[in-house]
Symmetry: C2
Subunit: 612 residues, 2 copies
């Protein structure tokens, strides 16, 4: 892969120091902007825009490392300084004493702010550093309320107009482009005006958020998953039985995080699983998740009947020692739920779920992951591996959404969540799948209620079954709605879902589509910094700063490419018109004239406002 | 364009007769399905699936007409039979007596069911003809309730399990794939279990729906726009100053309706506007909309100051005589609202809105479309042209959403709606634009309240500003949510929006994306037939009937193409596995084994259910 393809134009990676932990270097991407040029020839500076950046050192033009070397061990010193781990015979780290496991949850409960916590606090503020430093002790929170009840009290404009002293200036217009509805309550969340390390600690201690950060994956930059933070997305990679090799998998990783994937799951099922994962981990600045039962099944040559707790346990330990940050374990799928899937439209569609279901049928025994849950949690606590409790009975079609089997497993996910928390383990819950839009809020509410507000991590959900080839979009429709109501992370679906394996362009399209869904939800949740980028891009668009519009977008390459297809000449990028209306007539150009005239008239004290 | 590209595989166009009007031949598309083949070798027939079809005669393999001939005049006899029109000097039809205008609204108010009304009733039932005929007199309606409060009373599965007699069979599982939640109330709509001509009439009489059907466009197949029907979508075509010719525009029309566009707006702004529109109308089986002020401005050589009521009036009449089915008129943008846009992030972004705003500034007069509203309505009533009251002040960015200017215009749209209804004119209201997801419900509620439940017709809305190149998706996110809450029609946005002019692939991608959003909303609204296609496709998927899965999808060509990239061999389409998990292990295959085993055990009376 050429490095050019992995660079964003007009921007650079920057690093911000911490306050509680001054040694922190929190990475962000900063997009430079051109000056505004007004019709009267005057100009105005536009501040650079800071953007959340998942690309790690790979996104830094000054970084000179190679895939063979692996990334620098960013967190090694932090982990060592806590003096709660020891080296195993094979050189990997493990807890020195499970009475105090080296997990972020344990520290949060003990009231300790780790460097990881301050790192994510700064990251979530999206570069609003001045504000961050001044309010580092503050802690504001908003009330819990339904997601879509914003602005119901808005009066009729004709009533407003009758009020004494009414004028355009009396309205709360946003000349400064600050957020329009700052005081309005938002969706079932507690979003602070500014993120502080203490807020992060409280959210982790409450179980509402987690920082997946295995002590054996020091290369990862800390990130947080929780509904009171930016909504995150995950991309899946992994060689299947049918295709791809190791180098290709590392390339896929870099490609996915370049576009903004916050975590990556390695779902490899073929040969060389261990070796592939090692390369991925050593080169990944984002948390890596896995589904260990896939590898356990490979060890049984694919024979489900040969699976057993010891084989799974050894696989889990092997992966934990390598540095896997979170694992999907389908422990909530109980034996008595299986008959409820027999009459479903699409039965069991989760791969892990069907493995466990088959194992229980063959052995006529309860799910060994459920019966060994405490031992699973002890292993995870030893390495600070977070648990992502699987949803093996997720619906595979609209017809099966929110049925008994799905909700029965969800209820058990709640029980297992509590038990994992008691062991100091960080937890999230996996969710569907295929869910029509009117059943999404119900699904989200039940998860919050039954799973004690543990972060929800859903696959889509896909809002319809009829669009194979476009399932990145059907999934984004459900994803935006569930994230708006509190889902903490969305697993992407590519347009090849249900049909084939994704290639590079499918991954790009999929990641960007889910960034859109997550960002739309962040705006709706009222994340305090989310709209800054929208505002900057809208201003650039309005002022015909084409390059800035491209550079501020989620996919600058594509924005430029589409523009250039219609207007390829370089001077079209400085022209005060666009291809939709042509050079003779442009709505935005006209508005600029209106604005200029309005300003001129205001200066001469005989403006349109007075005349009306 | 090759005709192959305009054919759907495995399906044919069929025609269904009416009951009240037996002469009707209501067009649908019917997809054949293969038999199910079960693991034990037994088979089962699968009924063909009927799909709403917008392609008109062009989608009928037996149709032999040409673009030069134009389409057959399907409605000519119906219009003539009503004896309420007369021929003008130029051969076009007009009302014989404006006291009883020849509009669908007028007939609905007089209690008369037109052929158009029965046509759409049959169409909306999606081929459920048996049921249709048996309930043709019935009229059921559901209560008005919030869109996202479905299923809140669902008990915990663990409580259900404690009930005496509980078993998998006691649950309301959907072996017949009927809709899962038939009895649950749905989103702010009154969706009947079956559509009847009388229901259609009542909805039109109440102003909640319209059938855009100019008496001079007899080629169009009747379709209905209203929130208690299937959500519709519109695609824009039109040569701009920069590109394209007449033949190309007819090709674009056929392409857009092939993919499912329910109406098409011709937004041409260059030369030959009249001639281009003539070709489009004579070849269009769907209603055609326009924005007459574009052509009026062309007549003034683009000089806004030269615009006047007489020029606009003559243009409106010219278009009405040609057969335009609905027109956007920006009459609700009042002079006193303009100053409220000066401090917006993105001012006025509607082309029509900025023309009117500029005209008002130059002339220091009230909007001539507002002051001549009664005359506008008289012209529209003369030809049964529906009015789409424009939203010239729609927000062009997240920052401007739901601001005073937007809502002030919306309130005036309500006033004009009433006045148009009083003239017998069918009405809908246009809406934004750029709106973050949490402000969408407020926008929808205000439109329903202030505009007396007239159908809402929105452009997107786009849920964020940061994704140029992907704005078909940002618009689908907002579109699905607003349609779910009652928006009747979505205007598509292509991925070239804000950047350039759409090509064929952009139109295909855009139309299919909005079909997804509209269909997702139909499921959420509880449209009684919408889920039949999901259920059929899910069943085909589960049973590895690959060809059926492709053929039932919104874009069969793409589904097949994506499948074949990974597994190109013909026998892969009959294989009981897919490329995601490979031949050795497949979740769906495993589930089929579980189901077979479950059935076998049930037969031998020693099933898993009893053991648990």
């Amino acid at each position: 892969m050429k490095d050019d393809a992995l660079r964003y134009p007009g921007s650079r990676r920057i690093y911000v120091a911490g306050t509680i932990h001054p040694e922190l270097k929190v990475a962000m991407r900063e997009v430079e902007q051109h000056d505004s040029v007004f019709p009267d020839g005057s100009t105005e500076k536009n501040a650079p825009v800071r953007i959340y950046d998942c690309s790690g050192p790979w996104g830094d033009a000054d970084y000179r490392g190679t895939v063979e070397q692996g990334l620098p061990a960013l967190r090694a010193a932090w982990i060592a300084a806590r003096k709660d781990v020891e080296k195993d015979a094979d050189g990997s780290l493990k807890a020195a004493d499970l009475a105090h496991p080296p997990t972020q949850r344990e520290y949060a409960l003990r009231g300790i702010i780790t460097p990881e916590m301050e790192y994510v606090a700064i990251r979530e503020n999206l570069g609003r550093m001045q504000a961050y430093q001044s309010v580092c002790d503050a802690f504001s929170q908003q009330s819990l309320c339904p997601a879509d009840e914003v602005g119901t009290g808005m009066p009729r404009p004709s009533e407003l107009e009758k009020q004494p002293g009414f004028s355009p200036e009396s309205m709360t217009l946003r000349a400064d482009l600050a957020y329009q509805h700052p005081a309005e309550p938002r969706p079932g969340n507690r979003i602070p005006a500014f993120y502080t390390p203490e807020f992060v600690r409280q959210e982790i201690a409450a179980g509402r958020a987690l920082i997946p950060a295995n002590i054996n994956h020091p290369e990862a930059e800390p990130m947080i998953i929780g509904r009171n933070f930016l909504c995150k997305i995950n991309a899946n990679i992994g060689n299947s039985a049918i295709s791809s090799g190791i180098e290709e998998e590392v390339e896929k990783l870099r490609w996915a995080i370049h576009w903004g994937s916050d975590t990556v799951m390695d779902l490899s099922t073929g040969k060389d699983i261990h070796k592939t994962r090692e390369w991925i981990l050593r080169n990944s600045p984002v948390p890596i998740g896995t589904v260990p039962i896939y590898q356990a099944l490979e060890k049984c040559s694919g024979r489900v009947e040969h699976l057993s707790w010891p084989i799974f346990r050894d696989t889990l330990i092997e992966q934990a020692k390598q540095g896997v940050d979170y694992v999907t374990v389908h422990a909530a799928l109980l034996q008595r739920f299986v008959p409820h899937t027999a009459r479903r439209a699409t039965g069991v569609v989760s791969r892990g779920g069907s493995i466990i279901a088959k194992w229980m049928m063959l052995h006529q025994e309860e799910n060994f992951l459920y019966t060994h849950w405490d031992e699973v949690c002890d292993i995870l606590a030893t390495y600070d591996v977070a648990i992502s409790i699987g949803d093996g009975l997720r619906p595979g079609s609209i017809a099966d959404a929110n049925d008994f089997a799905q909700l029965a497993e969800l209820e058990v996910q709640g029980e297992l969540t509590r038990r994992a928390w008691d062991k100091g383990v960080q937890v999230m819950n996996e969710g569907p799948g295929h869910v029509p839009l009117h059943l999404v809020p119900e699904n989200m509410r039940k998860q919050l209620e039954w799973c004690y507000e543990a972060p929800f991590y859903t696959l889509g959900p896909l809002a319809t079954d009829i669009a194979p080839g476009y399932d990145h979009i059907t999934g984004a429709l459900g994803g935006a709605q569930i994230a708006q109501r509190g889902c903490a992370m969305l697993c992407y679906v590519t347009r090849k879902e249900h049909l084939g394996l994704p290639d590079r362009e499918d991954v790009r399209e999929g990641v960007v589509t889910y960034k859109i869904a997550a960002h739309a939800a962040d705006l709706a949740k009222g994340h305090p910094g989310a709209q800054l980028r929208d505002n900057a891009l809208a201003k650039a668009r309005f002022e015909f700063r084409w390059e800035d519009q491209f550079n501020l977008s989620l996919d600058p390459h594509r924005a430029r490419e589409y523009h250039d297809i219609t207007l390829p000449h370089a001077n079209a990028k400085s022209a005060h018109f666009c291809s939709m209306c042509g050079p003779d007539f442009c709505a935005m150009k006209l508005t600029q004239e209106i604005r200029a005239r309005e300003n001129a008239e205001k200066t001469s004290n005989s403006g349109l406002a007075e005349k009306c």
